[in-house]
Symmetry: C3
Subunit: 304 residues, 3 copies
């Protein structure tokens, strides 16, 4: 799909989503809750994310509930990482299911408002939070399952790829992929590494160069998700799948997981500052900011 | 399958097998031949392995014949490596087919008795022999074909993966895979590397974390084996396939094989001592020894 | 297919092709145009390659037209690299389609006459030109699409793999693959890396060790090409596909492409001299030269 189409579709979701491309007829969802806005920067009540931990099974369910599209803002990412960290430190919590409380969307990805007309310092702080989310999730000792009950472009796809297993609603209107190039921005090396680890080099090369979004059936075919089930069975299937993973002794599974993922994690760990620097100098370029402004203006028109 | 199931199935095969999970009704096979035991440490007659070399074709057939399940004991591994070395040095031997003389099993993998209640020194000697087997096989200049005429879990799978080509009996009750985590132990990095080279990163990640055993048809589907044929045609198909491989000039094939496999081999070569150390400190841990003891006690009950 | 078959088939194409294995009834195509010969070494008119640039679309079409089989001679490679360099420097040129003007063949690969009975110096110069072709193509900032309207063995396959996308005529008699081992020579590490990046490690291992040529349908199945279309639609499909690729902002696509390919390019860049040295000492070996001589004598007999 051309950039123009990407922008047109995104317009339906207001400021928050980075290329959501959701097939929705929803009107009026573009307003951002004043309550949520007022909570920015000092939110300690996890209002964007709801965590339910079942101590009888050792499994936590994390529900993303940041309307309209679970955009990954700095606040959202901070809450996410703190929630994850808490569960990680709770030895009784062995498994984590991540899903969305919102209709039709898992997460629309990085919040464009964190990247537009911001100081280099703010952009850097934001990017560090994106890194932190991925580092904590991809390296989690828990079994992590993404219950993808809606579209999951860009950062939403990254979050899904950070899990151990991906179950998606079999709705062909839901899509998933790292579509950054469609907006003129670029998935960094660790997004790329995570995708290569999941679907291989060639599929990743085409997917990233073209910014491809895959429908749920296509995503299953290339291995971007592991299983499709009817939308109302995504969470129950995740719970059943979790039981199978938890049948494996934790220490053996954790050592194995670390063996598979540590080289990829180490690569970012030893390049965090350079990666932040790269992101900041790219995103603050006049040409890129101009692209973002055009994108936002188009969104405003759609609202009007 | 849960650990409990794995243990229950393994029980049918006595001490020798590491998670064989064979569907067999065989009774009385659990006894170890006194003759074989008396040969330990100074076996020079290759009684656990029978090698037939056909000088007219340049192809050797290596038959594993160590009842009940071709467990990879120290003696077995030593014989294996010596046999392989001899063939390797014989310039007239260009191809090697590895198969089993026992019913229903190719090899059940590493012999658990070499890891339970042994001194760290013994464990280290054993692990070095496991390394040696893989180094010699994965790096062989000969064309190597695994004629997998039975189940092939754990170390048996590693042996298969060490070959150039894998032909398996199409019996869906036969399974193959690196299922170490199901017993609470862990496949080391070079098992992992070998599997990644064969089926890719993502399939390996799931397979190793869950300790998955694949039925023959599933194994074909993910590329863990290259071809399925009726059980009575495994060896003849291997012989026919060998002829095709031997049609390629040896020097060109060998240089190419080395180019594909040398980086993986070098990784272990430059880390052998550390790898032995890791194995020994892991396997001699109280918690791991306790797992192994519970496993063995369960096997004893089954015998009784 | 055995070496003998490979040689027999190649014979149809005279000196120029390295294992073309084309199913053709063409007679008399083996003569090399005197005009072309007279142009050797100082050709500045791009007579072996015809380039048409459409400034309205920003897309160039490069037609290889060096009878009989578009062998990659030193002159051909030099022209190719110069043409590519010119297009690369022209900012208005954003995409490149590579195809053949000859029937039934895309390119038969490296010209064996550049490797037989030549001085080490000449072999080295030739190999450097092969490297240069690949470095420029695999690292091109343009969108590159191979419109593979005929067979494409060895170097022809490498050229195809250097592009971003491969569309092949769905004629099952056309084949593609890195079949070097069939002639007793060896694809170097960067041929291998390019193929691994495209079809993965295991498929590459088998393909290179056996020197496999895949029919068009087989090539699609393993991902060696991306799409098959009827022969008369190869070029139009390439043009349509190009439009989709050009819909992505150049800078984002280029950064992404570089991220995917730079490690592979850097590996050759930092080993060019050693790679040339390896090639020269291999190809000038008596045994290899003898293989090439036997090959050429067989071709002569076929001609006679």
């Amino acid at each position: 799909m051309a950039l123009r189409n990407a922008l047109r579709n995104s317009a339906k979701y207001g400021f928050s989503g980075l290329l959501p491309q959701l097939s929705s007829s929803g009107h009026g969802r573009v307003c951002v809750s004043p309550f949520l806005l007022s909570q920015r920067r000092n939110n300690s009540t996890s209002s964007k994310i709801k965590v339910d931990f079942d101590s009888s099974t050792g499994v936590a369910v994390m529900r993303m509930q940041s309307p309209p599209v679970n955009s990954l803002s700095l606040d959202f990412l901070t809450e996410f990482s703190i929630s994850l960290e808490k569960l990680e430190m709770d030895k009784s919590c062995r498994g984590l299911i991540i899903t969305s409380s919102l209709p039709k969307v898992f997460s629309a990805g990085l919040d464009i408002m964190e990247m537009y007309a911001k100081s280099p310092e703010s952009c850097g702080v934001f990017w560090k939070a994106v890194q932190e989310m991925w580092l904590k999730l991809y390296g989690s000792n828990m079994v992590t399952i993404a219950a993808i009950n809606g579209s999951s472009p860009a950062g939403g796809c990254l979050m899904s790829l950070g899990c151990d297993y991906r179950i998606m609603a079999e709705n062909p209107r839901y899509s998933i992929g790292l579509n950054e190039t469609q907006l003129g921005i670029v998935a960094p090396f660790w997004f790329k590494d995570t995708m290569v680890n999941t679907v291989g080099h060639r599929t990743t090369e085409m997917a990233l160069e073209l910014g491809l979004l895959y429908s749920a059936p296509e995503a299953l075919k290339i291995g971007l998700v592991d299983r499709l089930v009817p939308e109302d069975q995504v969470l129950t299937t995740a719970t059943e799948t979790m039981a199978k993973w938890l049948a494996i002794p934790d220490h053996a599974r954790q050592i194995t997981k670390s063996m598979m993922r540590k080289p990829t994690i180490d690569k970012l760990m030893s390049n965090r500052e350079a990666d932040i620097h790269n992101f900041v100098s790219f995103i603050t370029k006049d040409s890129i900011q101009k692209s973002l402004r055009m994108y936002l203006e188009m969104l405003k028109k759609r609202k009007g």
